[in-house]
Structure formats: structure tokens, C-alpha cells
């Protein structure tokens, strides 16, 4: 469904992504793992057709996605309807006066019928029905995230791209979101720098290394067992610790931030 071939992205001469190649099948979920600054968000924006690679090709359902192609209004509408992205910062994704309008916005954009019914349906799923007439700006971070997700899922995309979806959430909402995403059967690419989250979100992971290349592509379980790779990805660190007066050294995972 999604095929990336040797995607390279440069910004001001600096390499952000270096020859990234992998593909994602229909209804497959993958976690894009890597520390901050390896280019995860950039890659997601390329897959969403927002920015375009300096080199390499990107195919969606066999069709190459280029800047020129997306200038075609009919294709642009088809592509945006099918590939949707949840940005990291929910604040920038909100621009309608009420939660209702926020969810209805995409529906109107893509000429859906029965808008009322659909808005209520999605609001119900996300447990935000009581806020429908409220301004989305007054909600908490987790609730805002729910509104954003509802407004994106309402247009029934085939591919959902999520950029660090849990980074602004409290542990309870994080747990809820993980369960929700696990039950959703559409194609998904989720970025995170959080190791323990990776295993909960998907079976397969693509890990970007500090050299901006694909370091690993395979089962999350196997990756988590491979100490050398974990260190190479800079996802774990060796720390000196003191426990009950005894000094020792062990590997340390940094997450649940």
C-alpha cells in the first residue's frame, strides 16, 4: 500500500533522511522508532504528501506521489481522504469554533452525507459527546487529542499517520489510546521515541538510526532483545547506579516521559 524507495531528504544541505526504503501492507501497523532528530516526523510528512523527498520515490497504492501530482485537485482530494495524519501538537490542529464543527469540517471537505449522524457517532466513540457545543480550545490536552483523532477518523481514511501520539498525554489517556489504536484495523504508521510503547503499539518496527538510515526493520520483540542494536539506535544508555550502597553498571531505558 505504501512503498518508500531510497527516500532522501535534505534541508539546507543537511541530510535529514538517508535512503529510506521500506513498505507497508494494507492494514499493517508499524512503529517508526528512533531518538529525537533522526527524521521520523519528516518521514511522516513525506508519506502524507506535505513535503517531498530530495531524492527517491514514494508510491501510494502503486501511484507515485509527487508535488505535481498533488496539484491535481481530484487526485489531491483522493489522496487526502485516504491518508490522514495526526500532528504531534494538538493545538495547531484545532481551528473550529466548536467540537462539533471540528469533526464536521473534514466531513464537509470530502462531501460526506449524514454529517450530523457521523459527528455524533464519532463523538460517542471517543466519549466527547458532552463537549460537542463547547470550544475545543477549552479542553485538556488529552481531550483535544481525542477531538483531533475523531475529526480525522471521521473521514474514514485508509492510512493513519500518527506523530508521537502519546507525547502530550497523561498515563491514563495513553493507555486508552493504545487500546483504541490496537482495535482499529487500518494501515498505520506511528512514530515514537518511547521503547516500551513500541511493543504495545505494533508487531513490526522500523528503526531509524542516528545516521538517518534504517537501522532495523522487523519484529519489535526481536529488536528489543538485541542489546547491540538498541545501543546503536541510542535508545538505551549505560548508567552507573547505586543500589543499597553497591555500585554497579547496567543498561537503562529512557521512556515514559
Amino acid at each position: 500500500m505504501i512503498e518508500l524507495k531510497d527516500i532522501t531528504y535534505k534541508n539546507d544541505g543537511k541530510i535529514i533522511l538517508d535512503k529510506i526504503t521500506f513498505s507497508v501492507k494494507e492494514n499493517e501497523k508499524i512503529v517508526l522508532l528512533g531518538i529525537n532528530g533522526v527524521g521520523k516526523s519528516t518521514l511522516l510528512k513525506i508519506v502524507n504528501g506535505l513535503i517531498f523527498p530530495s531524492d527517491g520515490r514514494y508510491y501510494y497504492e502503486g501511484q507515485e506521489i509527487t508535488e505535481k501530482k498533488l496539484k491535481d485537485k481530484v487526485f489531491n482530494k483522493f489522496f487526502r481522504k485516504n491518508v490522514a495524519m495526526l500532528f504531534q501538537n494538538p493545538d495547531i490542529m484545532i481551528f473550529n469554533p466548536t467540537v462539533y464543527d471540528e469533526i464536521a469540517f473534514g466531513l464537509k471537505q470530502f462531501d460526506f452525507d449524514k454529517i450530523d449522524e457521523r459527528v455524533n457517532y464519532w463523538a460517542d466513540i471517543f466519549g466527547i459527546s458532552k463537549y460537542l457545543n463547547k470550544s475545543p480550545f477549552d479542553l485538556s490536552g488529552g481531550e483535544k487529542q481525542k477531538v483531533c483523532l475523531a475529526s480525522i477518523l471521521a473521514i474514514e481514511p485508509k492510512v493513519l499517520l500518527l506523530d508521537e501520539p502519546t507525547s502530550n498525554l497523561d498515563p491514563k489517556t495513553t493507555g486508552w489510546l493504545i487500546d483504541f489504536l490496537n482495535e482499529l484495523s487500518i494501515t498505520m504508521i506511528i512514530t515514537t521515541h518511547n521503547l516500551s510503547m513500541a511493543g504495545e503499539l505494533a508487531d513490526r518496527t522500523v528503526v531509524l538510526g542516528e545516521n538517518h538510515r534504517v537501522l532495523y526493520d522487523g519484529k519489535v520483540e526481536d529488536f528489543l532483545k538485541d542489546k547491540d542494536l538498541l545501543i546503536k539506535a541510542n535508545l538505551v544508555h549505560i548508567h552507573k547506579h547505586r543500589h543499597n550502597g553497591i555500585h554497579h553498571v547496567h543498561y537503562h531505558v529512557h521512556d515514559w516521559d
Binding site: R80, A84, M85, F87, D91, F105, Q109, F137
Partner: protein, 182 residues
């Protein structure tokens, strides 16, 4: 050091803007080229890109009026284009060389407000660009003027909110670092 450069720059700007002799202006350009030898193309490109719209339209209009009124003064066209190029080349060169914040450090308040603003601008710009990408991702239909008003109105509110929050945070951070102790 930067302070004196800045002073020298201001004096040069005034001097260049009272020169009405194309030969002298051309000489200054050559001198500037020699000083900035490595970056001639880069700076020239920037100068042309940033001035072409205004200078170009003025020049073209001046030509049209000149031809209609049979009073086209080519000397003026040469003079104004040379002067615009010289001044803007000088500006781009100087500001790529000096540290503006150091150059303006004669006033503590001015200096800090500039540095703080610059940091905030970069931060806001990033958020704004992210927002533009988001709009690209979600908007496929032509929006009406009314829609734009609503959207920008709410975007404004988002940045206002952020500004109040940041101002408070900066204030606290400055306090904690002892900025107001003297």
C-alpha cells in the same frame, strides 16, 4: 568590536545615499566585491531577490512614463539601480558578518528584548509552519473568506494564549537566574 562595525556601517549607509555619481558607486561595489570575495554570488543573489520587485516595478514604470512624456533619463535609472544594489549589498554583507546582539549590547534592555524576541520568533515560526502543513493535509476544498476569518481568528487566539504563557514562563526563568537582582 561589533559595535564599531555597526557604527561604521551606519555612516557608510549615509555616505552612500548622498553619492549621486555612478562611477563612485560602481567603485564602491567593486571594493565590496573584493572584501566579500567568497560570497559575491550568494550575496548578489540575495540582494537581487529582495529588491527586484520594488526596484523593478519603479524602473519599468519610470521607463513607461519617460517614453510617454518623452523625458526618459537613463542616468537616473543607472544611478538608482546602482545605489540600491550598493546599499543592499553592504547591508547583507555587514549583517552576515556581525553579531547583531553583540553590536546592540550598549543597552541591556534592548539587547535582551532582541535576543528573547529572536528566540520566540524561531519558536513561533516553527509552530506556524507546522500549522501550514497541517492545513495542507486537511484542506482540499476552496475555503470561503468567512472560513479563513474563522480559521485565522482561532489561530490568533492560539498564539495569544501561547504568548501569555510564555511571557510568564520567561519572567519566572529570568527571575530564577537572577536577572533582576542588580
Amino acid at each position: 568590536m561589533d559595535k564599531y562595525f555597526l557604527l561604521g556601517y551606519f555612516i557608510s549607509v549615509i555616505l552612500i545615499s548622498i553619492i549621486h555619481n555612478p562611477i563612485i558607486l560602481l567603485t564602491i561595489i567593486i571594493v565590496l566585491f573584493l572584501i566579500s570575495f567568497k560570497n559575491i554570488i550568494k550575496i548578489s543573489k540575495k540582494v537581487i531577490l529582495s529588491t527586484i520587485f520594488f526596484t523593478g516595478s519603479v524602473s519599468v514604470l519610470y521607463c513607461i512614463f519617460g517614453i510617454i512624456q518623452n523625458n526618459l533619463n537613463v542616468d537616473y535609472l543607472i544611478l538608482i539601480n546602482l545605489r540600491v544594489f550598493t546599499l543592499n549589498y553592504l547591508s547583507f554583507f555587514v549583517f552576515s558578518k556581525i553579531n547583531l546582539f553583540k553590536a546592540l549590547s550598549f543597552s541591556k534592555d534592548l539587547n535582551y528584548v532582541l535576543i528573547l524576541s529572536y528566540g520566540q520568533i524561531l519558536n513561533y515560526k516553527k509552530l506556524f509552519e507546522e500549522w501550514q502543513l497541517f492545513m495542507k493535509s486537511r484542506v482540499v476544498k476552496q475555503l470561503s473568506f468567512r472560513d479563513y476569518l474563522q480559521i485565522y481568528g482561532h489561530l490568533t487566539a492560539l498564539f495569544f494564549e501561547k504568548s501569555f504563557k510564555n511571557a510568564k514562563e520567561i519572567s519566572l526563568a529570568m527571575k530564577s537566574r537572577g536577572f533582576f537582582n542588580d
